[in-house]
Each structure stands twice: as C-alpha cells, then as structure tokens.
Amino acid sequence: MSGTENQMTGAEIVLQALKDNGVKHIFGYPGGAVLPIYDEIFQQEEIEHILVRHEQGAGHMAEGYARSTGKVGVMLVTSGPGATNAVTPLQDALMDSIPLVCISGQVPTPLIGSDAFQECDTVGITRPCTKHNWLVKDVNDLARIIHEAFRIAQSGRPGPVVVDIPKDIQFATGTYTPPSAVPTQTSYQPRTQGDLKKIEEAVELMKTARRPIIYSGGGVINSGPQASHFLRELVELTGFPITSTLMGLGAYPASGKNWLGMLGMHGTYEANMAMHDCDVMVCIGARFDDRITGRLNAFSPNSKKIHIDIDPSSINKNVRVDIPILGDVATVLEDMVRLWRAATKTVDRARLNDWWTGIAKWRARKSLAYTPSDDVIMPQYAIQRLYELTKDRDTYITTEVGQHQMWAAQFFGFEQPNRWMTSGGLGTMGYGFPAAVGVQVAHPESLVIDIAGDASIQMCIQEMSCAVQYGLPVKIFILNNQYMGMVRQWQQLLHGNRLSHSYTEAMPDFVKLAEAYGGVGIRCEKPSELDEAIRQMIDTPQPVIFDCRVANLANCFPMIPSGKAHNEMLLPDEATDEAVANAIDAKGRQLV
C-alpha cells in the first residue's frame, strides 16, 4: 500500500478502525464535538448507528449488546455532558467486566483547559471508571489507539475503555494503521493459561473432597461459550453440586440435576448452606462479593478454597484462598476436565452420597416458597408465569435493579449463557430497558424482555422513543407495586418500617405512556388474566410496556440479613412481621 492510500481524516480513521475491529452497530448521540464523525457515519452503510435519547441509554445498550453476543459494545458521545452522562454505564461495565469502547468527542486541542463550551476533563473523570482511557493528541496515533482500545476492552478481564478525540484531530489528516500493524503493548499481557501444577493440586484436592461445591460467576460467561461447556462437563464428571452468582446464571442450566440455585443475600437455602458447610469450594470466575459472602469471618469456615480468576487482584481480595489459579476460565477448565478424566478411575463417587442427602434436606425446606393468592398477582408468580410462557422461545432477559431483579434471578430458569443481562456490581436502576434495546439490536428475531420495577423503569424510559424508531419490539414487564420495593424492604428491616420516600404517589399511566411513545400498553391486575395478557404481550410485534400490578408489600426472601452468616438465613415461612423487625440484632445494626 502506498503512503497516500492510507491518508485519511481523523473522522475517517475512526470509522475505518471500527470496521476493521468488526463493529456492526454503535449506540450514540451527536453533539458539537463529534460532528465530523457523524458526518462520516452519514456517508457509509456498513456500520449502523442507533440514535439513543440519553447517553446513559447508549452505554447500557452497548452493554446489553456486548453481554448477549460476547462482542465489544461501542458507544459514541459528544464532549462535556455527553461524556459525563456516559460515566454511569462505564462504571457499570467496569464492575461487571463488560467489554465496552466509548468514543467521545472533545473540544479542539488548543481549547483544552480553557473551560470551553461543553468541555470537561473526560479522561480525568473516566479514569477510575474505565480499564484504560486515552486522549488522542496526534491524528497519526488515532488508529493505533482505537485498535489498542478494542484489544484492552476484550482481553484479560474485559472492561470499558474511553477514547477521547478532540475535534481538530477528527478534521486533521493522518496515516491509517491497520490492526495487524499495531504491536501489542509490552506492559499489558494478560495471562490466560493456568499454572498446570496448581491445577493438578486443585484436582487432587477435589478428588478427596467429601462435601465439595462449585461456586461459579460472571467470569464463566465472559470467558465465552467454551467455558460454560467445560463447566458443564466438569460438573457432570465430578458429580459436584453447583451454585452461581447473579452474574453467572445460565453458565450451568437451571434444569441441571446438580443445580442448587443462586447463592448469596437472596440465594437459596440449599446453596448458602452448602457453601457454609462444604469442605472444598471451587470458585470459578467469581470474586467473593459482599452480597455473596455475608459476614466474612463466618464465610464457609471449614473449607479449602480453590479460586480460578484471570484478574490477580481478585485473588485473596476479600477471602483468603488455598489454591489460586490465575488464568482464563475456559483454558483452566479445559485442563481441569482433562486431568479429572485421567483420574476418573481413582475417584470414588459414593463418597458424595451423604453430602447429597444433606443437600436434599435443605432443598426440601423450599426456601423460595411464597403464599399464592387468587386475588392479587404475587410478584414471584408473575415471574414464574413469564418463564413458563417464554421458556420454549428464543428469549433474552434483562432486569433493572431491586426486588424484581432478585425474583427474576430466583424464578426464571436460565439454560444458556449470555441470555441474562443484569447490573450486578454497580446495581444501576435504569440499566435493564436500554440493555434490552441493545440485545434486540443484536438479536432482532428474538424475544427480549426487560423485567422491571415501577421505579427503575422510569430512570431510562425515554429509550421507548429509540425502540419505536428502530422497530425494536422490546417487552418491558413491570412488576408494579408502587414502591421502591427493595428500599421499602430494607426500611422495614432496618429502620422501624419508616418508609421514607420509598412510595411513589404519582405514577404515570404506563399503558398511556406506551401509547404516547407509539408502543403498546397492557395492564394486568388479576392472576386469572395473567397468562392471557403475557401471551398477548409476546404476540405483539411492537415495543410493549406491560404494567403488571402485583402485591404491594411482598418481601424478597430468603435473605441473609446484615451481620449474619450463610447459615443464618431468613426464610419466607419464618418471616413474620416480628421476625423481620428483629432479624438484625443490635450488633448488626451498628455496622456502618
């Protein structure tokens, strides 16, 4: 290639670099500092741009897109407010390890630092909420930086990156460097292959375990379909019970016989009891989050712990482990499965019989039970019916944050990875609907449902306009109880049931709201009419807001109250008003 062929403007370089990195869709919002890039978008057809209504929506759409495809999500925002509005999804993606490339416009280089119109210190503001970020100062660096951005976003522990491009750089002409010509940074070389000695040590320990458990997390999903495949194989070969974090649901099928359900604060009794009583814990791509461990000094006190993770800083961060294995989940599990197969003859499977008998007793406790009602729709029932009526379809589920999210995790059965998009680490209300729009862009023929709460959905409801514009038939299934349910539940538990500002006195008419945006609204108030209403929602080829009126004061159980250990759960049948009020003793309340 001659030198002149590779000469392009910065804006052209951006589009070329996106194409060369396999980008098909970007989510964005125009503004002064990105107009040259938008002008290039206008003049090409390979990349489809989805116009959002708020930059936060663009970020969550890119997250949903990334999480459901395993590809990098791309967002494009302008300088100043465009960039600051992107901060929430960037931090969300950082905490949930979602590969995201955010391209932001910046005021022209000579104006940086002059408090110019729509200027902000984007790299400064986004430094702690990205895996890495760049301010491009020379158009000849632009292509290299974008290629590096894609590599860093998706390799190692995935995460968000920001490339901030001043407007003069977008206009300037420079040389385009293709991805193959960009050397990898020597300082960033994530390790994927696990230490074989450690893996052997882990297998030896697992062979002798009498009360083992596998605790898997979002890292299995991030590692790709192969990781889920090997995880399933490992469970099958070892006969170990398996539980998973919120982020890891679907890596092992909910219908699998070794499945204990989700663990943690709102996890099942059997999962948490097994975690507490196990003698060997195999943590795969999870990070011992505080919602998982409960009181740390009472967390699984008698177990040897194996931890597989690609991020060295996740190891020994919250919980000391005995055998750390640094590497990519899929690669490590492949080795582990191979070593286990070679050792199969020496493994006595009957040694687990007592353990499984114990687990069966915990299961019999039916920790997810709730009191059904013929008069009002119980939120758990609503999720169960939604699951039953959609499980045979090609379905993707996203959620907002709160009680509905936990009920969705508890009652919706996920059989495959990448089918469940939720904001786990940051807990971002307003995540679910834009994420669903992003999923629908990637999977136009699939059924995409955002399970929402009446409070969360109002945080990014404006994207209805986007869904209607692009004909994306996303379904919003609102469990409407008029409260910020999880806030109300905590106020009941911790603050003497003083419901300070957790009741929404003025609620929009969601049916009319859907119609105002050009979508379809459905309301259902009776359990007897629910199935028909859900079928109607599924059959509607437009975006739908489903206002499902549910019992107002239902609590989400089981629950590990603060200051308690895994074996001190609050179960639904024990959760009388008095028990709830006293669930957290004075000592627990004093925790800051």
């Binding site: 790299v123 400064g124 430094r127 702690p128 895996k131 890495h132 301010l135 100062k137 860093i152 940074q185 020597t186 300082s187 960033y188 505080d290 461990t293 409960g294 009181r295 740390l296 000094n297 991020d311 060295p312 800083s313 190891i315 020994n316 961060k317 905590w490 538990l493 911790l494 603050h495 003497g496 003083r498 603060s562 200051g563 957290i584 004075a586 627990g588 309340r589 004093q590 925790l591 800051v592």
Partner: protein, 190 residues
C-alpha cells in the same frame, strides 16, 4: 426525629481489621505517558490506600520508562492488594515490593535515600553552631549570605528528620524534600 427509636442498620458487612499495618517501599516501572502518575495516585486515593512518600522520574529515556517509588503503609493483605491493583494498570510494567525483596535477600531493608534543601537563619552564635552541625551531618552549604544558609543534605529519611529537628531551634526557615529513592542491595535489578 425518630433516630433514637432504633439505631440505623446497614446493608454492608464490616469486619474488624486484626492484622497490623507495616510500612513498605514499592518500585513501579511505568510507561512515561500523559496521565500515568494520575492513574497511580488515583488508584491509591480511590481505594483508600496511604501514600507516605512518592517520587517519580523518567529513568530510561529511550524506552520512555519512568520509575515511581512509593512508600505506603498497610496490613500485609492490603499491601498485596496494592501490588496487584497497580499491576492491573495498563501502562504499568512491573511492581516490586522492595521491602519484601530485601527480606528475601536477607537484608534489613532496601537502600533508601532522600535529598533535602534546608534553609536556616544564621547569625551570631547560631551561625557557628549551624555550620558545625551541618558538617557533622555532611550537609553542604549551597547558598549563604550573612543572614542565612541553604544546606543540601542526602541520606536516610531518619537522618534528614534528625537534621531538621536540630536546625529548628537554630532558626529553620523552610525545608524541601525529594521523597525517597530506593533500590535493593546486591547485583540484581528490580
């Protein structure tokens, strides 16, 4: 109003720290690119780690590598986290805990040196005394007139602390310190 009715509870679990804090010196080799120092110190402030001393300068000009020396204080568990968190930053090449390395090599601690400029009033009896003490500490005079001295002193931080303390009653005006530069004894690099 009703706060006294019930103490507030929490959605978080806090465990008491039982380990004792230690002071360690870290060497961090980084690409000398814009913002790299902000990334390092932002990580410390963002995660609540301590910085007791920080020095940074480009040490390999051709490779554009800078060496940052950080003295930090934390429990062994926190110190391990600091190392891993630093390694996670993209422009960071290597992180070495010099204090741990020194212990492994059988040394008490790494070589740590600091430079200070110390300005002192110097007239009358104090003038002679200041000069005599400076000589004992091997501090050199780099500026003086009949009313003041500026001393340059290098050495272990404890020596510099001591020198400053002694100069105080003699009319200390101001002090500027570089922070600690450190490396381990022996033939190996970091």
């Amino acid at each position: 109003m009703s706060a006294h009715l019930q103490p507030t509870g929490s959605a978080y679990f806090i465990a008491k720290e039982t380990e004792l804090a230690e002071t360690h010196t870290l060497s961090v080799l980084v690409d000398n690119e814009p913002g790299v120092l902000a990334r390092v110190i932002g990580l410390f402030s963002g995660r609540g780690y301590n910085i007791e001393s920080l020095t940074v300068s480009e040490t390999e000009h051709e490779a554009h590598l800078s060496r940052i020396t950080i003295v930090t204080r934390g429990t062994p568990h926190v110190l391990e986290q600091i190392k891993h968190q630093l390694e996670r930053l993209v422009p960071v090449h290597r992180v070495v805990d010099l204090t741990v390395r020194a212990a492994n090599l059988g040394h008490d601690r790494p070589i740590e040196r600091e430079l200070a400029l110390v300005k002192v009033h110097g007239s009358g009896e104090h003038r002679v005394e200041a000069l005599r003490l400076a000589d004992a500490f091997r501090a050199s005079v780099i500026d003086a007139n009949i009313e003041h001295f500026v001393f340059e002193i290098t050495g272990k931080p404890s020596k510099i602390e001591q020198f400053i303390a002694i100069m105080k009653p003699l009319g200390l005006i101001e002090v500027c310190r570089t922070g600690i530069a450190a490396m381990n004894r022996g033939p190996q690099g970091m």
